[in-house]
């Protein structure tokens, strides 16, 4: 069996698989970067004021959700994969995964930056920390929109 034959016979599942992989890989990288950045900031705070651990945890977790969204989309897309699926079906699954893959990736990093800046509020003015959390949650909106769209796309067309 040559490459062209593999492409014709199994192209669908290969593209579908690529979509699944991207939905996990990209938001995963973004979330790791975001959580890592906030982790650096909060550990700086822990050196001086370890009693603020509880409040800092919320900021720390915020950029982590994108990875979770990507994982959920990947699981749902994986459920639709089968070895003999058509190329068009596979490509469609890939497309459906793209919104969360890209938006999840970048938004996690941006959210991480806002949350890390929020740690400065926690450091200097503890009473106002909620404001930092709200600013950070604003970024979450766009990850959530992408997640919802990926979810709808996956279930919108039946092959």
């Amino acid at each position: 069996m040559n490459f062209a034959e593999i492409f014709v016979n199994f192209g669908g599942v290969v593209f579908g698989g690529l979509g699944v992989a991207l939905a996990v890989i990209m938001p995963g990288i973004g979330s790791a970067r975001g959580v890592g950045l906030v982790g650096e900031a909060t550990s700086g705070l822990m050196i001086e004021e370890p009693e603020k651990f509880g409040k800092s945890l919320l900021l720390e977790l915020l950029p982590g959700t994108q990875g979770l969204y990507g994982f959920v989309i990947a699981l749902l897309a994986m459920g639709q994969l089968y070895s003999t699926m058509e190329i068009a079906h596979g490509l469609f699954i890939l497309m459906a995964c793209l919104p969360i893959a890209f938006v999840g990736w970048k938004s996690a990093i941006f959210q991480g930056k806002v949350a890390a800046a929020g740690v400065s509020i926690l450091a200097k003015n503890e009473q106002q920390t909620t404001k930092g959390i709200i600013f950070s949650v604003m970024v979450e909106t766009y990850a959530l929109l992408a997640f919802v769209l990926s979810l709808i796309l996956l279930n919108s067309v039946t092959f």
Binding site: L37, E40, A41, T42, S43, G44, L45, I47, E48, E49, K113, A116, A117, V119, S120, A123, K124
Partner: protein
Amino acid sequence: MDRLDFTQGVVRTRVLEKKLLTFGTLERLIDAGTMDEAMKILKETDYGSSFSLLTENNDFETILFAELKRSFQIMDDVSPDSSIVNLLRLKYDYHNLKVLLKEIILDKDFSHLYLPIGTMDIKQIKTFILNENLQDVDPPVRAAIVEVLTDYKITRDPQRIGIILDRLYIYHFLKIIEAIKSPLFIEYAKAMIDFINVRTLIRVKRQKKDRKFLEEVLLSKGNIEKEKFLHSFTDSIDQIIRNFRNEKIAKGLIPALQSYKETNRFEDFEKEMDNYLIKLIREAKHIHFGPEPIFAYLLAKETEMKNLRIILVSKANEIPPQMVRKRMRESYV
């Protein structure tokens, strides 16, 4: 340099900033009737532990210096890039170099004047100079030493040591800043150069030196062209104020020149200069990723030390509070 590398350091700096003396505490210190009262107030602050070691009231200089040294050590630990802290250590390096070269040229012992807070091992440099082997010295410092020594051979004027090193210090400072690529630092350095040039202009006029000398001692690379200072050479102080009215630093420069005009004291000019620069660096409060907050903290600490010294010296000499208030620098917080 990746700005995000400073994330942890910035948060730590934010916590340390909270321990800087507030306006209220400084006011209470100024109004304190005696040295003992001032000490009581200081013991409630971050300086508590160091000042409680003080036995004789007048030895606060040692403690202030130890505190400054401690701040630098903390920041060495906080900053992921040593060049930021070393940038502020540079002026102590050049101070030490000045003392060292005067020692060598005048063959006297000034060892009590050294400030052991810089990056250079001054004893080692002394050995290098005496052995006439400068290979292992940092190139800009090596160039500075060579320039001072050659200049002294020609002019035989020890006063020029300070003049040359002050100029080379600024250029070295600017060179490090250019490598860091922070717009705020560049603005800071350029404003500093402009202020120093104006100060040089009025100083040269006061010392009745000639235009050629002014041209030599003026610094380049500031916002204001060198020519403008040379054109103002024959002008009166009022005319100088008018000449520089529209410059970028005018907001600080005009009050500085005006208070110099009133009192004829360079300290008053320098106070306004310090105030302008600390206001400029306050921008760092809004920067969350980058080296600026670390630089600003150390600058704030230096200003705080300056203010504490003014207060404590005046307490020791029983100078009334209103006089002290006039000399106080604006603080960072």
